[in-house]
């Protein structure tokens, strides 16, 4: 019998929690980089098309599935999917909705712990007066856990455990804890982001120095927003836009289903979903585009940005740029920047904890506290290798092997596979004949009927294209050339799923290496890669076994598992 008696406190709390779930580090770090790499302003056109044809429909699908499953007291995807399809296999597909969250939370909490640590370092003024190289080196030293930057031994581990404890404590307060965190975190994130965005928008050419005389924030904004319409015919740009849609909306994870499963059939989901979705878009398109790229271009020049745009800029470059604003404002800007990243992170990582908790409460009668602490313990077990296992290159750059593997398989591929499966299940197995009225039940807005057809045909098709695009990614990701020369064979990129499975990239590097020491390091890396994958497979298998045990328990107690 389920011990789950959770309920949302208020509608606004639910929407903020959903928006907090969607708003993550990618809004500030991934979106502008993707735009820069895919045609600048033209990227926004496929991005918005994908938001309308894939993002919004997927949000509605997930909210509807969650609320429908909740009617049968299911609060995690294995048995939510089970209520919708006759085929027993669906509940094992639903395992993705727990697995992805556990695996992603394992490394996501590590990034979150960096932001905690950097808030602390910004307050005590660690970065004041440091050069650009020294700030970048600080990050590498931080990741090399044995070398403390504060005097705290194993600082990175300490902050990771602290961050995990904070997440687990909030989760142990149930949905009320999550809701409270969102009600504090999301508004603060908007305030912090607003402050930095205004700074990015007004920086202009005031950041130019003798070292970077041509630096201008306007160049950054020009680069980000000037439409290059020729890139619209490039499939790579469209695939990048569709891919970004996954990361930004947190669809294909199982968190939206879980949050929505606590709603009653007469309560709205249609308006809630678009409201939370647009809040995420506001943070991404408005705030996300006005911070990192313009500020970096304003001090270092657009050429530097083009060469170095990436995730690392947040920690390796931004503190140096803030330092140019004078010691007091730089400390404040550091607190705002890393604070907003922390709030973006924690509201997402809390969401990742709820599917596991819902599952353990529903199926194994765990109390809320036990469910939360079991999640914390699992994350610690799966996550510690992401902190402890890395290699340091000769230039000091840290290669986080487990981290990268988790990110690729759980944080990227699993989302696409699960979203594709759920879109097919909802539109074709459960059927829009039942699914559409489910979505409209209690709706506070009129949903245009065209979305019925979009959900049936276009969304699954787009998802299939994204999946196949990752499976058969051509050499260099250059779709235009690959499609033109399709008759001459199809060279797969080492980043394609097929080549990743075969470890082709690292095998090629080993084959071309001549230094025995380097070969030994590469071989060690390959062992770590395989170990990380083994751990992920074991996690998936372990959750699948729990789902099987739960199914047997349900059968014995004659509990209804399926509505169809």
């Amino acid at each position: 019998m389920s011990s789950n008696k959770e309920a949302w406190g208020t509608r606004v709390g639910l929407i903020l929690a959903m928006a907090g779930n969607a708003v993550g580090l990618g809004n500030f770090l991934r979106f502008p980089v993707q735009a820069v790499q895919n045609g600048g302003g033209a990227f926004i056109i496929p991005y918005i098309v994908c938001f309308l044809l894939m993002g919004i429909p997927l949000l509605w699908i997930e909210w509807t599935m969650g609320r429908f499953g909740g009617k049968y007291k299911n609060h995690s995807t294995p048995f939510i999917l089970d209520t919708m399809g006759k085929w027993r296999f669906w509940k094992y597909f639903g395992v993705f909705g727990i697995f992805t969250n556990v695996a992603v939370a394992a490394y996501y909490c590590y990034i979150e712990s960096w932001t905690m640590s950097y808030v602390y370092h910004s307050i005590i003024g660690t970065f004041n007066g440091l050069g650009q190289g020294e700030v970048a080196d600080f990050f590498n030293r931080y990741l090399t856990i044995g070398k403390s930057t504060t005097g705290i031994p194993y600082e990175a581990v300490v902050f990771y455990v602290l961050c995990l404890l904070l997440n687990t404590y909030i989760l142990s307060r149930g949905l009320k804890g999550v809701e409270k965190a969102a009600k504090i975190g999301v508004p603060l994130l908007l305030v912090f982001g607003g402050f930095l965005a205004i700074r990015g928008l007004t920086l202009g050419t005031t950041g130019a120095t003798p070292a970077h005389p041509d630096a201008s924030a306007w160049d950054g904004l020009n680069f980000l927003w000037t439409p290059q319409f020729d890139s619209l015919s490039n499939p790579t740009v469209w695939l990048a836009a569709a891919g970004q849609m996954f990361f930004t909306l947190s669809v294909g994870m199982g968190t939206v289903h879980c949050y929505s499963s606590y709603l009653k059939a007469k309560d709205d989901i249609a308006l809630n979903a678009v409201s939370a979705g647009f809040m995420n878009e506001f943070v991404e398109v408005v705030l996300g585009s006005l911070i990192v790229i313009p500020i970096a271009a304003g001090y270092l020049g657009i050429d530097w940005v083009k060469e170095n745009a990436g995730f690392g800029m947040a920690f390796q470059t931004m503190p140096y740029l803030f330092d140019q604003w004078g010691s007091v404002i730089s400390n404040l800007a550091g607190v705002f920047w890393f604070g907003l990243l922390f709030f973006a992170g924690i509201t997402s990582s809390l969401a990742m904890g709820t599917p596991w908790m819902g599952f353990m409460q529903d199926e194994f009668s765990f109390k809320r506290n036990s469910a939360a602490w079991s999640f914390g313990a699992l994350i610690l077990f799966i996550g510690l290798p992401t902190v402890l296992i890395y290699q340091v290159a000769e230039n000091g750059v840290v290669d986080q092997i487990f981290f990268n593997e988790y990110d690729y398989w759980a944080g990227t591929m699993s989302l696409v596979v699960f979203a594709l499966a759920e879109a097919i299940l909802f539109a074709w197995i459960f059927g829009l004949k039942r699914g559409w009225p489910e979505l409209l039940s209690g709706a506070d807005i009129k949903v245009p009927v065209v979305f019925k057809y979009i959900m049936t045909f276009i969304t699954p098709l787009l998802l299939a294209v994204v999946f196949l695009g990752s499976l058969f990614l051509p050499e260099g990701g250059d779709w235009a050339t690959a499609l033109q020369n399709v008759g001459n064979g199809w060279e797969l990129d080492n980043g394609s799923i097929i080549k990743m499975l075969q470890n082709s990239g690292i095998k090629e590097t080993i084959a071309s290496a001549t230094d025995p020491d380097q070969i030994a390091v590469l071989r060690q890396k390959m062992h770590f890669i395989n170990a990380a994958r083994l751990l992920l497979i074991s996690l998936f298998a372990g959750i699948s076994i729990l789902v099987y045990v739960a199914y047997i328990k349900r059968k014995k107690s004659n509990l209804q598992t399926s509505a169809v």
């Binding site: 020009n222 927003w225 309560d267 308006l271 647009f278 398109v285």
Partner: protein
């Protein structure tokens, strides 16, 4: 900033901002459904 970049930036950011505010205000202005609804902070009797 060049004109085309400025036009695109202002158009996109304004559109997204207007939609965000519109939907959120609609949420705030929509009267709550009859009890028992999904939210417990407005309950007259605390849930067990």
């Amino acid at each position: 900033m060049n004109t085309s970049a400025l036009i695109l930036m202002v158009t996109v950011q304004l559109t997204v901002t207007i939609f965000t505010i519109y939907f959120f205000v609609k949420v705030l202005r929509t009267p709550p459904k009859q009890e028992p609804d999904s939210y417990d902070e407005n309950d007259d009797v605390p849930r067990v």
